[in-house]
């Protein structure tokens, strides 16, 4: 098991919505759901986070913030879009200021359904994101080995 899969640290951001999904994210930390058993720690710092949990639809005001948090996270990273709003904008999709779901701003790895999303399904999304992180890390180290080999042999510039 890779180290990143065993300790996925989270950061959560509520873009713009009814705040219901964000409350459910915090409910995952309570004794009933216990996200810590998967090694999760909710950090307040994107530089320490591996998985970015976004709830709510993205609008023109907070799109730069979502992008800023995403850009500050070190590679490899995964994004989990939680709830109907984070998928498509939800009931706010037609608003004049809403640009759509999270995917309109940053690449999303896992979608968690629901309005509001249940803590169980959020945990499921986090565990899936951890698996995706492991694959990303494996792909990165494979690419690194390939680059090293090709530069040594002097081929494939």
């Amino acid at each position: 098991m890779s180290s990143i899969e065993r300790s996925p640290w989270l950061i959560h951001y509520d873009a713009s919505s009814c705040n219901g999904c964000d409350i459910e994210v915090l409910a995952c930390l309570t004794p009933v759901y216990d996200a810590e058993r998967f090694g999760c720690i909710v950090t307040g710092d994107p530089k320490q986070a591996d998985i970015f949990l976004v709830t709510g639809s993205v609008n023109h005001l907070n799109a730069p913030i979502v992008k800023n948090i995403f850009d500050q996270m070190p590679e490899p990273k995964a994004v989990v879009a939680i709830g109907a709003c984070a998928y498509s904008g939800g009931v706010f999709a037609e608003c004049y200021n809403v640009s759509g779901g999270v995917a309109s701003t940053i690449p999303v790895d896992v979608y968690v359904p629901g309005c509001a999303a249940k803590p169980e399904s959020i945990l499921d999304g986090v565990v899936r994101a951890a698996t995706i992180l492991k694959e990303k890390e494996r792909a990165r180290s494979k690419a690194k080995r390939f680059r090293k080999r090709t530069s040594r042999e002097g081929g494939a510039k």
Partner: protein
Amino acid sequence: MKGIEIYAAIAYVVLGPLLGGLLDGLDRVITARLQGRVGPPLLQPFYDLRKLLTRRIAPVNRLQMPLIASHLVFALLTGVLFFYGSDILLIVFVLTLASVFLVLAAYSTGSPYSTIGAERELLLMTAYEPMVIIALVGLYGVAKSFNFYAILGSKMPAYLYLPGIYLGIVYVLEMKLRKSPFDISTSHHAHQELVMGLTADMGGPALAMVELAHWYESVYLFALVLLFFSSSWISAILGLAFTYLLIILLDNATARVRWELALSFAWIATLVAGAGNLIPFYLISRGTP
């Protein structure tokens, strides 16, 4: 005798992180069980450390990493001097220097969160330093020495002579191990008003070094507690286990205090428990030559 001390210092450098990490992992498991949760695996701190070391992130500035490295080196040096049998008064100053480097590293980032954390850490340092000095003076009074092995070898049940000072040291441990109610500078728990605080803007290897320094620190802090219970093996084991569980229980049973309360609580504890213990102890020990 000198040979044993060198081996103890080397064992501390090699096994310190192992023991510190296990203490941290056990703490997280016990905390989870107290809250009715399953909790993370026992080896979770090691998984976290390994992951943090593999993360590649550009440091915030050129000053941060050298400062954090100095923090780790001086935290390590404190323990090495301690187990090598140096004067424990000197060790207090090295211990302070290690904390000062961490505070400087936090100030250097410019993040408002780490600045708040750094300021609170400075307040905590002013809160626990007097108690540490009083504890060392008390231990000197019992064993007539400032050497770790001499105090350990004196076989005096220091906890019977210095119960107040022992309680004061529990206060210090709460602050040094970043436990509630005194976890005001930084905390791993997401429900606090300042989550990462002091360690905000420290990503990947930088945070890994802070964690490692913390493990080294926790080992010699518990070695300091051991000095109070060094009269026999049974009292040593029971005393250390009791202190460890007491700290975890207090962490779970209390809420974070404001800095004013942290400072005044600590100084009241220092005055009442520390000085209130030291003065009668000296009066009695002078009466019985």
